[in-house]
Symmetry: C3
Subunit: 407 residues, 3 copies
Amino acid sequence: MSSSYRNFRNNVPWLILFLEAVFLGLFYFLFSDGGASRSSISYAAFQDVNHMVIFGFGFFLTFLRRYGFSSTGFNLLIIVLGVQCSLLTEGLLVFLLQRAREDGLKRLTKATLSMTAVVISTGAVLGKTNPVQLILMTVVETLVFQMSRFVNSTFLQVPDNIGMMHVHLFGAYFGLAVSSRFSEPPPRSEKNASTPKSDLFSMLGTLFLWVFWPSFNSVLAEDNKSKVIYNTYFALAASAVTAFVLSALTAKDGKFRMSHIHSAVLAGGVAVGYAAHRIEYPWIAMILGLLASVITVLGSYCLQRCLNPALKIHDASGVHFTFGLPGVLGALAQVVLLVIKNWADLSSLDYLVLVHIGAFCLTISVALITGFITGLILNLRLFKTTPVSKYFDDQFYWEFPHLAVGF
Amino acid sequence: MSSSYRNFRNNVPWLILFLEAVFLGLFYFLFSDGGASRSSISYAAFQDVNHMVIFGFGFFLTFLRRYGFSSTGFNLLIIVLGVQCSLLTEGLLVFLLQRAREDGLKRLTKATLSMTAVVISTGAVLGKTNPVQLILMTVVETLVFQMSRFVNSTFLQVPDNIGMMHVHLFGAYFGLAVSSRFSEPPPRSEKNASTPKSDLFSMLGTLFLWVFWPSFNSVLAEDNKSKVIYNTYFALAASAVTAFVLSALTAKDGKFRMSHIHSAVLAGGVAVGYAAHRIEYPWIAMILGLLASVITVLGSYCLQRCLNPALKIHDASGVHFTFGLPGVLGALAQVVLLVIKNWADLSSLDYLVLVHIGAFCLTISVALITGFITGLILNLRLFKTTPVSKYFDDQFYWEFPHLAVGF
Amino acid sequence: MSSSYRNFRNNVPWLILFLEAVFLGLFYFLFSDGGASRSSISYAAFQDVNHMVIFGFGFFLTFLRRYGFSSTGFNLLIIVLGVQCSLLTEGLLVFLLQRAREDGLKRLTKATLSMTAVVISTGAVLGKTNPVQLILMTVVETLVFQMSRFVNSTFLQVPDNIGMMHVHLFGAYFGLAVSSRFSEPPPRSEKNASTPKSDLFSMLGTLFLWVFWPSFNSVLAEDNKSKVIYNTYFALAASAVTAFVLSALTAKDGKFRMSHIHSAVLAGGVAVGYAAHRIEYPWIAMILGLLASVITVLGSYCLQRCLNPALKIHDASGVHFTFGLPGVLGALAQVVLLVIKNWADLSSLDYLVLVHIGAFCLTISVALITGFITGLILNLRLFKTTPVSKYFDDQFYWEFPHLAVGF
């Protein structure tokens, strides 16, 4: 084991403790007026999202054979830190700009939704970062995403529920940019693989996310909640069917590939997020879900063979095609639907299209640039990057008192 | 590997894609009026049922040592296809008969509830069907069950919430009839067994189903919702206790048998479904749950030793005693309760009893006959039946890039 | 295998059946007036608690390598028996004292909440008791806890939602007292250990409990529900962060220890239970969560090395520091908060402090005394104590038809 990291590791807890102390202090100054009043968001809706982020994504990322503890454990750690950080950033903005403050549960729900970006980025560098890098990434990404959302909502008048849907795009491209700065793992690493059991745990998380996705898309919708739920369900259904179709078409021998299913069944939910409140008929949502699933599976095929090796990006859990590409599709679909609907009124159309494309481009560019910078910073010698031989390995971070090795 | 299936397998995705295209076209014609209005069913109630069917039943069926991917994966596939098929059948009926249309979420909830029949039938042929057979079975069963429910509600005036409870009976007997046409697996097959870990995954699904069963029984109840919940809870509690009692009494050495627990703890919920809105006192529900558990464990003992070998039926996950027999008990209990309550008014009693027994007999006969025919069709050479040596094996349908074999 | 237990085991089911028959008879006499009317508790809130107790705690306790069946299975058994017993005790009290009866769902929710005490006590003797001992312990503990709650609410005027929070304290100290009467397992037993997979299952249960804990604390709160939820969330978040910090500080080499995470992430939820409705600002809840996590990890360090060996207590799943110590902290914090708030009015303060400390002391003393007596009774030869060599072993209670042994 690299002794340099061992020495460094002894400082890890102090860093986390320092961060928590800062958060506590800020909470004292910023949230000293209570705020737990009646909420426009029901507790059940918050709970669905909370469950998705803590439990669903935690197990969604357990597919690596020796990384189950870190996937679920570090996921919990970065989410609770990120939620606090997100609440404080928003609280600071509200304080500085003297805006009306939202109620406690709504703030908490929005902070939890924002965490999806962080979880997705974590997926891109899964197994390659040490806890300090993860936590730093969480804090930076949370701050930047809040800023990007703030710019979107203030200058481009993007409503809150749509702005939040950029979370997938932001998370995926931020994560990719960060991961481009990490060394690639050896091509046929034994640890960078799944077992049937770890794939089953990951399926558990995936099914959880699949079932709760309509809650994710509808939680911030103010009216049309039931329309959002309805459309999301159909988009998810169509993409689940298409996932099986395309997995069999692209895989050898016509067999299904579990990793395709994991990523492509969720694609419809991601893509429909932007426009779910505006889609009138289920068949439109279904076509969107179908297309999302198609670009996910084809994307997984093309990106992993062509683009990623060329750009030297190693996308550990395929967040580019699981969340990035369907997010792009959803953002474009939203614009297309806008154009079709407001065809008559060309003057306002121009403006609307511009705003939506502006928000989309802004989000991606901010994600890529800040992600790249974050990646550079995280790879400073100061942070004792995990050596490539210790990638994807729980034993580097966790005590293993277990007698058996049969993971 | 049988090369005939390999050639055939390349056509599987095209068949699914064709089906999805047909569904999409029908959605375009039938559901082009939106319909996502305010619903009489809460989103939380729909979500409970959706969670049960996708997550609960998916993991309930993972007890086979090498069939975890197919249990959870194919379960998702057939449910999303079946829900679409069920919605379209109901949409077509509403369109042809010019009836008032229900709101979107209610339609979706009913379609999801209907899927229980398909999932139960899948359990009866678990590990023996290829995906095409599964999908064909799903489509046929969904159509026939909708028809049977339509006949029940139109000609026998069975209310919707009771008619839906026939779902267990229909699923079990349809599945048994289908499975009677499949070859039996070799008696002591190594693959047709569970491991402690796969049993634990199955327990995960079972506990999920157990917890959510009151939602299943109450979701369509219009009034008396809390009575249904209350009675279902007590029936489940009594059958959980009885499951342990009878498992120890029938098993060797007085030990508990996990497969008994899996099937018998749910029996009470199935049996009480028909009459839960009518039972006044918890002790009646408890006795019903107790009896349901008794016939499940004794049924598992008798059927597996006597009836199934005689009829050459191989009931892969014991749906006959898990869902079939408790369903029969519940249907009879409902009649007995009716007789007791309306003793004074003999004229209406005759009619009521006739209607209930009629609906029950109709459901079972339709299930058995159509199931048998479906089984015959599925075993045509056209569908390349899975060879017996490939029964219960994920590797026949899924890529296994895993280095280790330690499932 | 000890043949004496084998003979005894054949009587186990009859004992359970007898108990269920008694329950059924009492239900007939006590609950023959229905009572499933509109409830002040929503079904969703009840369902959250039910899910926690059946599913969450069931998997929380699966960390032993060979005890997964018993952890989840026996958990279900004792909860369904305990809930019935708890309902009957309360029904009897209401009947004897001629009080107004609460509605069905509220009674059921309170009975389910009470079961937490039993589950926690089970954790203390996990793997060491046979089913009969477990069931007897469940019945006795349920009766005694109901009595203690009754005394608290009648003579000390502790409101219901606070009185219920004593459930963690009671469960932990009752369990510890019982476990002091059981023989200790051999120091380096191979069975008394976890595997990475069993730890992952336990993490699944832990995350479930973590997500649902705000429901647990808020379900009985009459007003301030959203305040309780809000504060509980922040306490949990702070204790999750602190768990990682302290785990790294106390463990060798600065690695994280999974067992610390399992117990310490929940500590904040336990501690904040008493005072969550009274805490005004999130930072107070966070400090409480932080302190709870600190005493849990330090407690685990000290108790396991010093106190437990000295007192010859073997606390199988560390309930003393997971639920006991944070409960004590919470009870004290409540008093401190009271003192701060009512500083001006010294006369009423004295009385309030006395009442709260009285309730706290009463609960612990009753738990310790009755737990000790129960432990003595359970170790009578009549109950055929499990031999030490069969501790922590599913195969002693469950059939293992599995071909493989690779648990």
